[in-house]
């Protein structure tokens, strides 16, 4: 899972039928990830009623598909939580004492 901020919303009439009821939001991953995603954004389905400006937890890959009422959603990213508060140890963000799991490559799988 990654932390990010919702910066936009997408509307699409023509879409895969399994996505018919999915709300699609544009998320900018937080800067703690290195290297940053090339496009600096990703699109994720939303089932927790997040809105623009919310900090969210985004799940990538297979677990993202196990959402909503179907486990066969053709998606690779889903918003699974709206963040109320985050505590980060600044020392853990330096290269030297990197906190495991935080300062690691941000892999979204697209365009590899």
């Amino acid at each position: 899972m990654i932390l990010g901020r919702v910066v936009g919303q997408v509307w699409a009439t023509r879409r895969d039928p399994r996505l018919a009821r999915a709300k699609l939001l544009v998320v900018r991953p937080h800067g703690i990830y290195e290297p940053p995603l090339g496009t600096r954004h990703l699109v994720a389905t939303d089932e927790v009623h997040a809105g623009i400006g919310d900090d969210v937890v985004v799940c990538l890959g297979k677990p993202a598909r196990l959402s909503l009422d179907s486990n066969d959603m053709p998606v690779d990213a889903a918003i699974l939580g709206v963040v109320d508060r985050v505590e980060l140890d600044p020392a853990g963000l330096t290269d030297a004492g990197a906190a495991p799991g935080i300062r690691r490559p941000l892999v979204t799988g697209v365009g590899r």
């Binding site: 053709p74 690779d76 365009g111």
Partner: protein
């Protein structure tokens, strides 16, 4: 998933049977700011995506990646893991 702009279509006379007959699109991934019209950003690599929705050049699309996504949409026999899953009508990006 990624937002991208379809910038072209790809034809190949000689291709593996696992791509046979599939419509292939060239997709330029967009950043959130360039999607908003905030000017050009560093170009990222073009994606060759399989089209399951009849998208065309100029369309803004959402591309999902992965073998399971591919299996669920265009079929398990296709040798491409990037699939167009939606054609964007409208987009709101916060300033």
């Amino acid at each position: 998933m990624l937002l991208g702009r379809v910038v072209g279509r790809l034809w190949a006379a000689r291709q593996a049977s696992t791509l046979g007959g599939r419509k292939l699109l060239l997709v330029q991934p967009e950043s959130a700011s360039s999607a908003r019209g905030g000017g050009a950003e560093a170009p990222s690599r073009l994606i060759v995506a399989v089209d399951g929705l009849d998208a065309g050049p100029g369309d803004r699309v959402i591309v999902a990646h992965g073998s399971r996504v591919r299996d669920l949409t265009v079929g398990a026999d296709v040798a491409d893991k990037d699939v167009v899953i939606a054609i964007v009508d409208d987009l709101e990006i916060a300033p």
